[in-house]
Amino acid sequence: MKATSEQAKIESLMRDVDRTLLRENLKLTPAQRLEKFVNVARFTSELRRAGERMRRRAVQTAKA
């Protein structure tokens, strides 16, 4: 019963998966998929650092 309920939850989530992203990824080789991942990871890391700098500046401005 529990497994069936879990299965139903997964199947429901499958309807919301963006297949266009997956189809684009499937056009790439595994190595190209990993390169894309590294590029996205670099991009998000840079944004995270920018966010940290912004928060630090906001704290400094508030103290001044």
């Binding site: 879990e6 499958m14 997956l22 990824n25 499937l26 190595a31 590294v38 670099r42």
Partner: protein
């Protein structure tokens, strides 16, 4: 994910470490569009492999992730032999090392269910998509439901090709 991530797999491969990529990065190899922040590997528990693993990662200062400051942790053969699964932070990024995974078993169990992948100038082994799905489902974690749904859609899409 550390900017050094792309050095992690080549470092292990060049050091002769027998391991199989599982988890989110394995999903990416198969076409997943989900972001992940650590690398999950099932490593061989043979004495020789543990020695190689310790030697290769030692210069990258592995430490238990989110461990209380000052907790004694020595990265050596004895520590790895005494434990099984390790969630680590390293100079090459966050790394989860599994001696065994639920639904997949050990390195030797997973080997027939893995594929050779070439990337970052090296060849390494990655768990196949049906087994990755099986492992995720066996873990039974609520947080994995969306990832599991995506992997199942990926399998459907791959089967259509």
């Amino acid at each position: 994910v550390s900017a050094e991530f792309q050095r992690l797999l080549p470092t292990l491969v060049k050091g002769g470490v027998d391991s199989i990529l599982v988890g989110g990065v394995a999903g990416i190899v198969h076409g997943s569009a989900r972001m992940t922040y650590d690398v999950d590997l099932v490593y061989s528990r043979s004495d020789e492999n543990i020695s190689r693993l310790v030697k290769v990662l030692a210069p990258h200062t592995p430490y238990l992730r989110d461990a209380p400051e000052g907790l004694p942790f020595t990265w050596d053969v004895k520590t790895i032999r005494s434990g099984l699964n390790f969630t680590l932070t390293t100079g090459l990024g966050d790394l989860d090392l599994f001696g065994e995974v639920i639904g997949g078993g050990s390195y030797d169990d997973l080997l027939p269910h893995s594929l050779e992948v070439e990337a970052f100038g090296v060849r390494f082994r990655c768990v196949d998509l049906p087994t990755l799905i099986h492992i995720k489902a066996a873990a039974g974690r609520a947080k994995d439901r969306e990832a599991l749904a995506e992997l199942r859609v990926l399998l459907e899409e791959q089967n259509k090709r």
